[in-house]
Amino acid sequence: MSGPVRPLLGVLVLGVAAWALVAVFRPIAPVAAAQAFASSEQCRSCHAQVFDEWAQSWHAQAWTDPEVRALSNDFQNTDCIDCHASRPVFETGVGQRVLPRSARRSEGIDCIACHLLPENGPEAKSGGLVAGTRDDLSAACRPVAVRALGSPEYCGVCHDQHKTVEQWRQSAYPAEGTACVDCHMPYRDGDMTQGRDHTMHGGHDIELVRRAVELRGHRDGDRWIVEVTNVGAGHHFPTDERSRAGDVFWRPIAAVSSTPQRWRHLYRFRSPYRHEVDLVDTLLPARATKSLPVDDIEARGPIEVALFYKRRPYWNDPDNPAPEQEAELVHRIVLTP
């Protein structure tokens, strides 16, 4: 071999060897494109008001909520992770079920889960990074308007797992043009230009629950008829998790100087767990009324009736429920002949 051929061949062999070494020791993991957003904290600097509202919400606490942790056995029931720490909704698509994520679980259902657009989606082709209500590619997060963002189908990716959106569809509200965000993410101060409140009040807000149902009673012969009407919820009462219940109790009115009598359970509004084969679904549809006669000899005179809201389904002592200790009072009325 003469002249420059030998050294050139040597360089070539060295180059191939180097390539072989790189091929062997190159990391196995697929190299992802750098994520635009690693944490919802990054949104705070520009969206402080929204962030602060969200931080108080139960979406933010989806992973840390003590009740969820108790019901899921600290997420030992990994089935719960799909909705409580989900991958971005737009990754799987509006109306499609979400998938669980591994990272940032403590951030619950956060800005990224709701707003981040997929890298290979149609919006990304036009430069959009997040879903918003208007296009603004000059903003740091490059929002593009996505109409589906406020739709019931969007909320339904998680909340229709317990049929809440289906319940809404069965009501008169769709025809009236009232959807989830109208009650749960209203415009701040009722002003469209102020944007939507991200506190997302729901069943944890007892005031909202109070506005959702009415409690009344009337006389029918010598007995009382108690009525509960779902006046304000866009879906059944209660809704979403099967752990929630609305319990109606009554008790005779005690004389002024004596101890109040014990509460007696009249009715429960709840959707049972699947293994509770001896129970039936008693959820109260939107705008429906349930009439409950109080057929007890002790109820002939004046009685007190109360509706309680319970987030865990079982009483500590089922034979002697203590609603004032174990549940939240929604409404209380006194019925006097």
Binding site: W19, A29, A103, S106
Partner: protein
Amino acid sequence: MALACAVLLASACRESAGLPEPFETRPVVAPRIAALEREVASDPPIAEPDPELTERVRGLVLDLPMLPSKLRTLQLDEIASIGDAALPVLAAFVVDDGLAEDRRIIAIECAAAIDTPRSVALVAEQIESARAPRVRASAARALVRSSHDELVPRLLLRLKYEMDGETVVWLAVALARFGNYAGLDGVRTLASTDRDSEVQAFAREKWEELASAAGLENGERLWKAWNDGDAIGRVPRSEPSARHRLALWRWIAKLSEHDLRAVDDARFVLSRSDASVVEPLCEALHEKDLYIRVHAAQCLERMGLRARAAGPGLVGALAEARLAPAAAAALGAVGHSSSASVLVRCLDPNADPELRVAAARALASVKHPAAIDALRGLLQSRERSDVRQAAAQSLVMQGHGDDAAPLLIKCLIAPGADASGAEAALEGWLVERTQRGESEAEGLLERWRSFAGPPGETPNPQAVATRQRTRAALLASFVAGTER
């Protein structure tokens, strides 16, 4: 020549390094189901029984309770010989909620004796839907002698929802007939609790009987052998029938459903199936439908050591970005020999954060020095906080909590950290130290637990935060004291 050698060397090194081939997805589930449906003979329609046959079957059923045992057996054989033609009459007894339980139970026993796919399906429906626990228990008991393994997924699903102890035990016995010991969890729990002494005694009896029938010393050995993936090859196995395989593939198809309840049921059934489900699940990792791919990996994870054979399939699945985190989680659980090295490579700083966190968590179950070293390396402050916390929690599970405790204590109060996860890990660390015989740790654990609040009561978020701050202060001074 040198060039050719270098290329060959590179390829060989790539293969031996276990680097994944490009990952292909394709329709898998639908073709499998279609093929098995062709293979499984469809049952001919059952003609409406004529009055004579109806009377004959009714008579046999009604006479049964009055017969002595030998004649009873003959009577059941006679009903069995009638075959599916008897089913319309039996079904009328079985589904009649208003009928006396004893009559329904007799009819269920007769249906089970026929032992055809349709007859056992009728019996299985009673386990699923009968309101009376006694009817459900009798139906489960009646299937103990069935030869139709396609029932296994249905019986497994029932384990998820059944609340009656006797039924749970009979389900376990029926499942064991087919080499599936997933029911042992329920039997084990019932055998050790004393809520109902009759059920407890029954559970204990069957616990030992099942072990003896399997040729093992006791129930605990059988339970361990089943859950450990039967490394000793002692658990009886059977090859699934075409109907059983079809049933499994149909459950895999349910992983794609929108209703999470259906998906949860499928995950429950598949993860409790025996090792014969591993191959279909590994095939399903290549399914075009993303939901099936991800949930198939989850099922393998939940099978744990029983899915050890899935290792190579899961390593390959790491090449698919959206599947990789679930595959990493599964790799940690199945205990494959290559898990350690592969998962450590998934921690690469350039990898997808989802994958890195999943791999850090998965390393909790991988008993290998490389896993410990890699996890320790992740505790550095320049790492993402969720990666560091996942690594710290895994170190505790690996018995190296001393390295992780300082970080986890900070996680109890750091904004954005998973304080509840840190809490659980730190309690595990205190338990580990107590078990080492450290009396100071024992006292600390007692104080730690005293902040838990009354049992059965769920604290509100503010109370939880207060508890976590108090525990952080408690442990911080302990750790500071031990470092001095």
